[in-house]
């Protein structure tokens, strides 16, 4: 049972890690805490719900279109809300992204309604036996997909020119612009990429819990906690931190109390920041 919960935790954690990755990318590049990151997940969840469940499109098509539209949303958000406030003080950035979050979640409410939607499990939610361990295929698929994504991201950031340019912008915006890099375009692309990652997370999340307009806040908070655990600003740290949160959340929900699992995650964050204000691992 423990293994099953742990694997489920890793899958969930992978999703949190994905959200945290997107969130960290934006932080590194634009020095903005994107409170709307969770909404990217929420929107793609609703999109694929509409395309696949309500309109009956084939899953791969619905998947692709949802992801692309999420990326587009990211680009729009960056252009309209983030770029105009570039360089502003933390409070301004916080209120702005909160504004985006409020807009998106409430828009979702009047387009799709306030009640949660169940999303059918595409990857199989019936437990299967592996020796004397019971596993759910869905979780394995999630872990698999995310692993592939991580490899793709790694290749992108380290082997392609665009990826390297993005890393340059994330490390030092001023110098990058002095080198002739179009910082505006790169940041826009980073937002698009983050939104795509959020979109993917939302699609993977949909069958596990549900699709609803208000899941964004809890997601982004947990992504933040994960990012802090792994060392705020570190990409691998964000992923690892997300997994840690997923696992501990699942295990504490199962072994301690399901009502308080959120409280436990939040309390963990507060505890970490109090004792190690720079996060658990001293990364840049």
């Amino acid at each position: 049972m423990f293994i099953q919960q742990a694997v489920a935790g890793i899958a969930m954690g992978g999703i949190y890690g994905l959200v945290a990755l997107g969130f960290t990318l934006i932080w590194n590049a634009a020095a903005v805490v994107n409170f709307a990151q969770g909404e990217f997940c929420m929107v793609s969840g609703f999109l694929i719900l509409t395309f696949f469940v309500q309109w009956g499109w084939p899953f791969p098509v619905a998947f692709l279109i949802s992801i692309l539209l999420s990326g587009l949303l990211g680009l729009i958000v960056e252009r309209l809300a983030i770029r105009p406030i570039r360089g502003a003080d933390p409070l301004t950035a916080i209120i702005t992204t909160l504004g985006v979050s409020i807009f998106l979640s409430n828009s979702a409410k009047f387009v799709w309604g306030t009640h949660p939607f169940h999303f059918p499990s595409v990857f199989g939610d019936k437990p299967m036996q592996l020796g004397n361990i019971t596993l759910i295929p869905q979780n394995l698929w999630i872990i698999g997909i995310i692993s592939i994504l991580i490899i793709c991201l790694y290749l992108f950031f380290f082997q392609t020119i665009t990826g390297k340019v993005m890393r340059a912008v994330a490390q030092d915006r001023e110098t990058a612009s002095l080198m002739g890099i179009s910082v505006n375009r790169m940041i826009a692309m980073i937002f698009g990429l983050s939104a795509i990652m959020g979109g993917l997370a939302g699609i993977l999340l949909a069958p596990i819990i549900y699709v609803a307009a208000d899941i964004g806040l809890a997601l982004v908070l947990k992504a933040f906690i994960g990012a802090v655990i792994g060392g705020f600003g570190s990409l691998p740290g964000a992923l690892i931190g997300g997994i840690v949160i997923g696992v501990s959340e699942n295990l504490s929900a199962f072994y301690i109390s399901s009502d308080y699992k959120d409280v436990i995650s939040f309390a963990v964050l507060i505890g970490i920041l109090i004792f190690k204000p720079a996060g658990l691992f001293l990364k840049k």
């Binding site: 805490v33 309209l80 809300a81 105009p84 406030i85 502003a88 933390p90 409070l91 301004t92 916080i94 209120i95 702005t96 909160l98 504004g99 985006v100 979050s101 409020i102 807009f103 998106l104 409430n106 828009s107 409410k109 009047f110 806040l217 908070l221 933040f224 802090v228 705020f232 009502d259 308080y260 959120d262 409280v263 939040f266 309390a267 964050l269 507060i270 920041l273 109090i274 204000p277």
Partner: protein, 314 residues
């Protein structure tokens, strides 16, 4: 001229219950409560520069403290409200002490989590708080036989506390405390270097702001006579933060104006009921892009609207 305007405004404010119809008077009462909330948050965020997104937690603690004392122990309102203030103050210190070394973004997220924890506790500790159903039958306060059972009379009660909070805020700002808070906001290291005990002042800022929020909570509970966790959400915290930013961060009267605007906005925008909150989100973005420094400093640019209230230090 300025004095004449001030006098007219004062007259209006004091005479509202005499001529305002029932529903708008109710709104005025709610505005008054939010004035206390925004002025109190302004002390923490605007003066001391500590980004706090969990103010609803202190509002809630005050409301529930006063409610439980009245409903379960029969403690009269006048004791209950001050108990509410002090219990909230304790919670404020509870948040302020551990977060002394936490800054900016991290602090904002910690305060969000704090607010959510309090709300979750309110929902889950059913035996104490009545859970999601809340608590009914909170008595209206009475003094020497006179009961504040009408909105008209309650309005004056709220007005009293609102004026008290505004007055305190203005006094604090003009004193060594205000200067100390502002110096921490501007440059914490420099403040430390000139001898400002930043630890003490930061905790004090949390304490003062949560005390007043607790008072507001008590006033709210005894006015509506019914509370449940839905009144104390993250959305509430955001609303209060927006109130102080829209008016002009750091400015007491700005907080008042912001409270009035944000409280009344949903009423004026009744026709877009469903869409209101989404439009609110857009409004936030718009405000940050175009009017970041708030209403009052935008007014500063209009000569005739300038007053002593607009000056930074007042």
């Amino acid at each position: 001229m300025k004095k004449a305007i001030n006098f007219v405004i004062l007259l209006l404010v004091f005479s509202l219950p005499l001529w305002l119809p029932h529903y708008p008077l109710h709104l005025a009462c709610m505005v008054g409560i939010f004035v206390i909330l925004s002025v109190s948050l302004n002390i923490l965020v605007g003066f001391a520069g500590q980004i706090s997104l969990g103010h609803a937690a202190f509002f809630a603690v005050g409301a529930y403290t006063s409610t439980l004392l009245a409903v379960k122990f029969g403690i009269p309102f006048w004791l209950g409200i001050f108990a509410a203030g002090f219990v909230s103050l304790a919670f404020g210190i509870l948040l302020g002490v551990p977060t002394l070394r936490v800054r900016d973004i991290y602090l904002s997220v910690v305060t969000i989590c704090f607010g959510l924890i309090v709300q979750l506790a309110l929902v889950n500790l059913e035996s104490i708080t009545g859970g999601a159903r809340g608590i009914y039958g909170i008595p209206r306060p009475s003094i020497l036989g006179f009961s504040f059972s009408t909105p008209q009379s309650y309005y004056y009660l709220i007005l009293l506390f609102a004026l008290f909070s505004i007055f305190s805020s203005l006094r604090i700002l003009r004193s060594r405390y205000g200067r100390a808070f502002l110096s921490i906001r501007e440059n914490e290291l420099a403040a430390e270097t000139v001898g400002i005990r930043t630890t003490y002042y930061k905790i004090l800022a949390f304490a003062i702001s949560s005390f007043y929020a607790g008072l507001a909570g008590s006033l709210y509970a005894h006015y509506i006579t019914y509370i449940n966790p839905d009144a104390f959400t993250f959305g509430t915290s955001i609303d209060v933060l927006v109130m102080i930013v829209i008016g002009g961060l750091g400015n007491t009267w700005g907080a008042v104006i912001g409270a009035i605007v944000i409280s009344l906005l949903p009423e004026y925008l009744r026709f877009m009921q469903q869409y209101y909150r989404a439009v609110f989100g857009i409004g936030l973005i718009f405000m940050m892009v175009f009017m970041r420094t708030g209403i009052i400093s935008t007014l500063e640019k209009i000569p005739w609207a300038r007053s002593s209230a607009t000056r930074m230090g007042s």
